[in-house]
């Protein structure tokens, strides 16, 4: 079968990292904005999609679409097989124990809400604590605050230092008899800090505390090995990993998922329904009520194939070169401050200019074709910690180039011409 879904990435990268060939796989990168070539530096918000992903989704709708887990007819069986195959693919991608530990959600946000409302609401009591960090995305703050309002848990916040690193002894000191979960980002979406996940898990496990990592940024930038990390829960979103939006993943250790009650009720998650009572399916299906994002999940499978085809180590190596080059060039701009100087850092660079607000920077860069994020990045507590109202953020992906870092610097010089 030579369908789009099984098409391999273009044969490249035998030796050098062939970024030009990769760029050809992402049709949108050839477009123009305000008459200028698009320089897309906002992949941290959502990554662009390679042809292989776009084709896979289209191919499902054109030739292989039906609802899953229901039909006795061939089309439905095939759709079901392809959908379920992605579960196994993700388990291998993250080195999870089995496909049954992979729950599909709409996004990382929903995955964290699932853990808060199913695991947290069942096993936490008033006065118990969830430890988060100062650099969390709102998605890993608000679900715990909602749980605090519902059942009276407390949210404890592990501080970061001025470089943007978690202060490990302060983190360890927060782990007490009432701590029921550590929920921390694996990579900050603002600072790029890659947190010492193994060490976090080791410290928590020494006290019998399970750990959830928000891997939305981390899975994009490095190879994640869940069994080596010994993560209890791990979440990520598909759209940052070059896959379709509407796809997210919750990994949970089988023993934990097995004792968790359903998150939402409906079709597909039940074993039997009667008005006298309903029984639920085993995980992971227990947590997947209703028709999921079928074509999109299959598209996520194609995205993972693509990333593995290029090679995660090679992508990480390229992105580190981009990070170092862009950091050096940005640092030379007068009045520019970079936030986040962690030793282990992804290619995510947040900065401010003394002469212009992040939004003014964003608007002027857009005019030059350069797309960056400006604002609080869904991390208002971190903005308070940094004592800035907003930052500009350039986030690099596998398809970005050194020339694009140069274009960013040139556009920032225009900002300075106007405002300085």
């Amino acid at each position: 079968m030579s369908t789009a879904a099984t098409r391999k990435p273009a044969p490249l990268l035998r030796n050098a990292y062939d970024v030009a060939a990769i760029r050809r796989d992402f049709p949108i990168l050839a477009t123009k904005v305000h008459g200028k070539p698009l320089v897309f530096l906002d992949s941290g918000a959502s990554a662009q999609k390679p042809r292989q992903v776009i084709d896979a989704v289209r191919e499902v709708y054109e030739r292989g679409y039906a609802n899953i887990h229901r039909g006795v007819y061939q089309l439905s069986q095939h759709a079901t097989e392809r959908f379920e195959a992605v579960r196994g693919k993700i388990a291998r991608f993250l080195n999870a124990g089995s496909a049954e530990e992979i729950v599909f959600t709409r996004n990382a946000t929903e995955a964290i809400n699932l853990v808060a409302q199913s695991y947290g609401r069942t096993f936490f009591e008033k006065g118990d604590e969830v430890v988060v960090s100062e650099m969390e995305h709102h998605a890993n703050i608000v679900p715990w605050q909602m749980l605090a309002q519902q059942i009276g848990i407390k949210v404890a916040v592990a501080p970061i230092d001025d470089a943007g690193e978690l202060i490990m002894d302060k983190f360890a000191a927060l782990l007490g008899p009432r701590t029921k979960l550590v929920a921390i980002t694996h990579c900050s979406n603002v600072l790029g800090t890659v947190t010492p996940a193994s060490e976090i898990a080791r410290l928590a496990h020494a006290k019998g505390i399970p750990v959830l990592f928000d891997g939305s940024q981390a899975v994009v930038h490095e190879k994640v090995d869940l069994r080596a990390l010994d993560a209890d829960f791990y979440v990520f979103t598909g759209h940052k990993l070059y896959g379709p939006s509407g796809t997210g993943v919750l990994y949970g250790k089988k023993a934990l998922l097995k004792k968790m009650p359903p998150y939402q009720g409906g079709g597909d998650m039940i074993a039997h329904v009667s008005f006298a009572g309903t029984t639920f399916r085993e995980p992971p299906h227990r947590f997947e009520a209703g028709t999921p994002a079928i074509a999109e999940v299959i598209g996520l499978g194609a995205a993972i194939d693509y990333v593995e085809g290029v090679g995660r180590e090679r992508i990480a190596e390229w992105e580190h070169q981009l990070r170092d080059y862009a950091t050096a060039r940005l640092s030379a701009i007068p009045g520019l401050t970079i936030y986040g100087r962690a030793k282990n850092k992804a290619a995510i660079i947040s900065f401010t200019l003394d002469c212009a607000h992040a939004h003014d920077i964003g608007t002027i860069l857009d005019e030059e074709g350069v797309a960056i994020r400006a604002g609080h990045h869904c991390a208002e507590p971190l903005m308070d910690r940094l004592n800035v109202p907003a930052t500009a953020r350039a986030s690099f992906a596998m398809y970005n180039t050194m020339e694009e870092a140069d274009a960013l610097v040139r556009a920032l010089e225009k900002v300075r011409e106007m405002f300085a």
Binding site: A356, D360, T363, I364, E367, A374, M383, P389, M418, F419
Partner: protein, 154 residues
């Protein structure tokens, strides 16, 4: 670049860098805080309102982009001495100018001249994401007039 120069006219850049009436008057009798949750802009508007509802003094503090700072600064210059009703009429006209293509509803002749000074903000119409920047201070001023403590562009 022409659109950009429309957005960032010299007046905007000037007021953005050197905002007027950027202070907290001790005798202010109305104040409201405004924020734009999307971008984190924050502004506090202070008014000194006379018993006959005339704005005797108006000032602001806060932090935001060039557009929101300039809009607040221009507002403080224009509203001083205006009545509450005139201030609301100017806000209505500004909001219309920032969001609609057609001409704004007519203002009394005395206000037309003042409103002309706000034309420098009309560039935001081409930048829908920035309309809230241009109107934040005005929303907050209206909240202060109406005795509300908080305003939000959401």
């Amino acid at each position: 670049m022409s659109d950009l120069r429309d957005l960032y006219q010299e007046v905007i850049l000037d007021h953005g860098k050197r905002p007027r009436n950027f202070r907290h008057p001790a005798d202010a009798n109305r104040e409201a805080k405004g924020d734009n949750p999307l971008c984190g802009d924050k502004v506090t508007i202070y008014l000194k309102l006379s018993p006959d509802h005339r704005i005797e003094d108006v000032a602001f503090q806060g932090r935001g982009c060039a557009i929101s700072t300039a809009s607040a600064s221009l507002m403080t210059e224009i509203l001083k001495g205006k009545t509450e009703e005139e201030a609301k009429a100017l806000f209505g006209a500004l909001h219309h100018m920032c969001t609609q293509e057609d001409a704004a509803p007519e203002l009394p002749p005395a206000l037309e001249h003042e409103f002309d000074r706000l034309q420098v903000l009309s560039g935001v119409r081409q930048y829908p994401m920035r309309v809230k920047c241009a109107t934040l201070a005005w929303h907050t001023m209206k909240a202060a007039l109406e005795g509300a403590e908080k305003a939000s562009t959401e």
